[in-house]
Each structure stands twice: as C-alpha cells, then as structure tokens.
Symmetry: D3
Subunit: 145 residues, 6 copies
C-alpha cells in the first residue's frame, strides 16, 4: 500500500540520486508525477512555477479550467502550510529556496474506488536573505481532481 | 550530513518497523528524540500531547520556562502547517489522527556552530468524522532552544 | 446566460414566496439545488447543516469521499467569507442566523465544456447574542466537483 | 421593509439594464448610493477605487476622518469576504474583475432608531490570469458611520 | 496634547496606586473611562467582560446597537493584537490574565474636530496553564463611535 | 520589580525628553536596549529596520543565526499585533509611522532564573495615506534568546 501524500513527501526529501528510482516506482504505481525548484521572495512565483511545471509535464491539460483550479488551490494551500499560517515571504523579509513535487493519481493505491487526486508538496529552506540564516519548512495539500 | 527537519520528516513517515532503526540513527547523530500519537477534534489536545511527551521523554526540563516556551511555539506553528492556514479542527467539523515527532539537537549535523534547535513535526490523516473520509497532512516547525 | 454564483445569491436573498419560482427556474437550468437554515454560535453546526442537507437532498452521494470533500471545502470557504477573515462565531461572542443554498451544475449555463461545479452560499444575520443587535453578512465559494 | 445588505447585494448582481431602476428605488428609500468597477491584481487598487468613488459621489465628506475610517474598514472587510479569508490577489497569482456598490443610510428601512450605516459590497470574477479561468466571488461588510 | 491610545496604554501599565491619579487626569481631559480584569482560557469571556464593563460604566448606552457594535469590533481587534494574529487562547492551550481599559472621547485632545472615538486596550500575561510560565502581551484598537 | 514588556511599552510611549532618563534606567536594570523609527507602506521595511538597528546596536551578534532568528520572529509577531491580525500595510492601502524599541535581558528583574529574553515593541500611527487620517496602534512580542 502506498499513499499519495507519503509518496509526495518521500520525493520531496529524496536526494537527486534517490529521485530517479523513486520516480520510476511512483510512475509504476500509476501516478503522473513531476518535480521542480523555485528560489524567490515572491509568493506568486512559487505558485506560477508549480502551475507551469504541472501543465508542461502533462499533470493536467492546459485548457481545462476545472483541473487548473484544483492544482491552483492545492498549490496555494501547500504554500500556506510551508509558511505555517498566513502566506508571507518577501513581505515578511524572508526568502525561500524550495523543491516541489506534484502527483496525480489514486489517494491510496489500495483504494481504487476513490478516483483521482492531486497532491502538491513543497520542501526546502526558508529564512533571512543572508547565506546560512535559514531552516527547513514543508507544506502539503491534497485535493480531488 | 543530516538536517533536523529532514530527520523529523523521515521519522514521521516511517512505518513502525522502520522506526526503531531510524531512532537509533537519529540518537547516534546527537539528537534527543521522541514520538507520540494523538487522535482528536480538539486542537489543544495535540499541543498538550506534544508538550507532555517532550517533557516526559526529557526533550526539555519540566521546570524551564524558556525551553517550554520554545517547544510550545514550535508545536503551535507545526499545527498551523498541518491545518494549512488558520488552526481549525473540531470547530471546522473535522478530526485528525496524527503521529508527532520531536527532535532536539543540531540544525545540521555538519554545522556545530549553530547551537541547539527544536523541531516538531506532525503527520497523519485529517478529515470528516466518517471512516475513510480523510486525507494526509503534514506540519513542521523549527526553532532555536 | 446564468452563472452558478449569481443563482446561488439570488436564492439566498429571495423571500420564501419568491423561492418556489426561483427553485423551479434553477432546476430547469440543469442544477441540483437545496436550501436550509442554521441558527447557532458554533461554526461546526453550520458546516454540519450544509453537509447533511446536501447529502439528504442528493447533491452528492453519501458514500463518495471526493464529492463530500469538495462540498466540505466549499462550505468552509463560504463560512470564511461570511466571517470576513478568520472563522469566529461563539468564540468571538457572536451568533448567526443564516440561510444557506447549495447548487450543483454548470459554472455558467452557456459553457457546457467546464464540467460540474458546486456552489455554497450563506446569508443572514450575524451579531451579538442580543435581539436586534445584528447585521447582514454573506459568504460564497465555488469549486469543481 | 428593505435591508441595507440585501439592497447592496441586489445592486451587485443586477445587470446594467436593471441598475437604473434599482438605483432610483434605493435612493427613494433614503440611501446615498454609488457603483464602480475595478480590474486588478493589486488589493490596494480595489480599496482605493472604493474610497475614491465614495468620496467623489458624496457618500462621505472628503475631509471627515471618522467617515473615511468607517468606509475604509468596511471596504477592507468586504475584500476579506471576497478572498474568503486571508487577503491575497496578485501575491496569490490571481486577478479580479469586480463591481462594487456602496450604500449609506438606514440598516433597515423599518428601523429609524438605528442611525446611519455604511455597506460595501464587492462581486465579480476571481481567477487565474488566463481568460475564462475564473469563477464568481462576493464580499460584504456593514458598519455604523 | 494627549492621545486616546497613549492614555489607554498608560492606564493599562499603571500600578493600582498610579491608577487613581491617571483616572482623574483622563476624566478631566474629557474622556469616559473604565477598567476591568479577566482571567480565562475562553476568548469570548474577554470580549464579554469588556462589553459588560463598558455598558455598566456608561461608556455606551445599553440599548444603542451602533455603539455596542463599535465597542465589540474594537474589543475583538484589540484581542487580535493581544494574540498577535489569529485569535487563540484555550484552543491553543494557553491562558490569559489581563487588565483592560476602555476610553471614549477625543482621538487627540488638541483636535476637537474629529468627534468621539472609542479605544480598547488589553494588557497582561499570556502563557501555559502552569504558574510562572507566561509572558506579557498587549493589544489595542481604536474606532469612531 | 520591572518586567521586560512593560519597560518596552514605557519606552515606546515616552516623549523624546523622557527617553534619555528611561534608557539609563533600563540599562541599569541590566538590559541591552535600542530605539528606532520607520515610516513606510512596506511591511518588510519595518522588519528590516528592527533587525538592522538591533544588529548595529549590538542587541545580537551579526553572525549568530539563532539570535537573528529569535529577533526576526519577535519582530514579525509584534508587527502582527500592530496590524491586529493579518499583516497588511501598503497592500491594505495604509501607511505607518512608528517607533520601535528592542530590549534584551531578564523577563522580570526579580527572576534571575529565567535566562535572557528579547522584547520587540512597535508603536505609532497607522492610517490612510492622507495627512491626519490615522490613529495609534501598538504591537509587542517576547521570546527567549
């Protein structure tokens, strides 16, 4: 049994070397998956990077508003998790350097009756705009798509 | 190199079988660590479970307000991450069943100059008070202690 | 042309006499629709009333988690709109007496290509627990289902 | 009987053709009223458009801080309702195209003893910066003035 | 020159011995003023104590909804300031022991043209439900009345 | 007995003439202290002014991330208190002109067992970008350092 959130988290914290193997495993379990990075002080750039990557990698079809809407809200909520409450990056004088992972597929590989879901995870460093003055943060949200 | 947040997350998503090995590894890296569970509709019970477990397991000394204060705010922010914004469980008609992990030690095992930090992670299921109507969520915060 | 949000709002502010006509019109446009009331100081009772009514009236099928999840988040966001920010009713020493309306169908009757959406609207009086010390408020959210 | 919030909402959702008749009716009931539009990714522009229109149309007198303060907070809370929680437009990578309505007069035309109130309503489309990728939203707040 | 907020804060942090003199001074400047205390884990009890004290001490007249509404929102915003963001006391497993001060009168004793304003200040200790495990906090809001 | 929060507030509301005497008193009580000003529509500038002043005045040592992290979060929470909830200045079409005070030392001069704490207070005027259209606000937070 594998769950969409745990798989997202595993990919988020995997090293570049581990990623290849995990990506194959996740694909074999029936998920569409993509990975990207963003380093920014602007919250909109994180959401934009997630949407653009998901679209380009075929996680959702570009012309489908319902799917874009699901991805958008999942990314926004993951960002709220990363910020631990109110969304604030540059306006809070901090910067982030993050990896994000997007999965589309079963909520749980043992439960084929639940339909398709989208999971967005964001993990990385958040902190002052001073080298080394930062710590880790993670955000995750899951929605039906 | 190991980071306090990634170690917390690894423990959060590890199975019971994997936990024993990870706990030893984390201890060997110089961390104090403890793990607990909470199933509730009441946000204060999650914070209480984290504080009580951390105190009982010696993560911080019971009589030390500065340390209790650091653990409290780290737990509260991790809960905000779990809730992806405003804290709401029972008052939002949802329930959680979560595992939590608390680590105390270096922010990064390669950086001995940063002093001691506390990491609180919460991971599990959040959803309607109906069996199976729930999905995964995660929250994490890190503070100096 | 009719839009799901505007129809929801029209039903919310219609008198009991007008409701019957509007309900028929909305049904004829291809929407599943239901209406309910809640008077409470407890935020969870508003969400529960919306979910229960929607389930009983066949807006979504009781055993389907994806649909329940969409209705839940739409109701929660409508409640955030009603509260104009942070959700607070009894804990903010205020009480609400509201009507709610749930629609399921096209986002826009002219756009058959967008699939099915759910709209939850809440409208009524919010105020002190003193008769007459209250004013109107409205909340609305729309999601794919 | 007519209520300030319901009148505001009726004007918000009325078509351009219906507006003229409604405006006269609302004026006859003893309200000062004005209507405007804003299309933007910047939350401050919505507040500025509401304040500027209200001032120009004589809803409040330009030199009166108490009244400007009441209009400001009513507009800000209406915006929180529109955003269903935390205020975020461009910083959440979304854009809005809205109509706003401002009424000043009795809270309820049957209750002359309650003094003057201000109502600000905002209604329109919110969504991705992609044509057609948007849905309706509404926000309303009412304060004494 | 004296300002309503600064006077409120001075009263909040004055000792019992200093209070009497300050109260006379504030009265002589043309303010209605009252002081109260609350110790609780329930946010609604703080708002209720403020409203009840203000009503009993004649800060606003009991039957006047516009004035009650102004006091209510001022108290709620002062509480948000005290909690530094989202309102949470018992639900965040913390307790407060606070003094509150309510002033009604000029915003600034040098500016007679601004009409009457209400100021609510809350100051005291917030912390764990363990003796001595608490620190100071303050909240203040000001509105026209 | 003197408390870190009350001393911070006293300095915040003291006139320029009173400041000198208070600063000496606070120093004699064993606190590191500094004072600054900021006038801006940009929330990050307030945080930056506080951090920069604290660093320059030796409140914390520039190369120490744990201390910078404590000052940052204390400043951010004080700003949330000033804004009475969600942080918003320019994006809410308002501007602030504030004084800030930073203290480092005992939480309470009678309790030498609690270690060192940091207190950040912000006090001043918040309002419309129109001269005289503003009122007072205050924010305060306290953390271990």
């Amino acid at each position: 049994m594998a769950k969409i959130g745990k798989l997202t988290i595993l990919l988020l914290i995997s090293s570049e070397k581990e990623e290849e193997g995990f990506l194959k495993k996740v694909s074999d379990l029936g998920y569409k998956v993509c990975i990207g990075k963003a380093g920014t002080m602007d919250s909109r750039e994180i959401i934009a990077a997630i949407e653009t990557t998901a679209k380009r990698e075929g996680i959702f079809s570009a012309g489908c508003y319902r799917e874009e809407h699901a991805v958008y809200h999942t990314a926004l909520s993951a960002l709220k998790g990363l910020c631990r409450g109110e969304v604030g990056i540059g306006n809070f004088l901090r910067t982030v350097g993050v990896k994000f992972v997007i999965l589309r597929g079963p909520m749980d590989t043992d439960r084929s009756d639940l339909g398709e879901w989208i999971s967005v995870g964001i993990y990385g460093m958040i902190g002052a705009p001073i080298k080394g003055f930062e710590h880790e943060a993670i955000g995750l949200d899951i929605n039906s798509i």
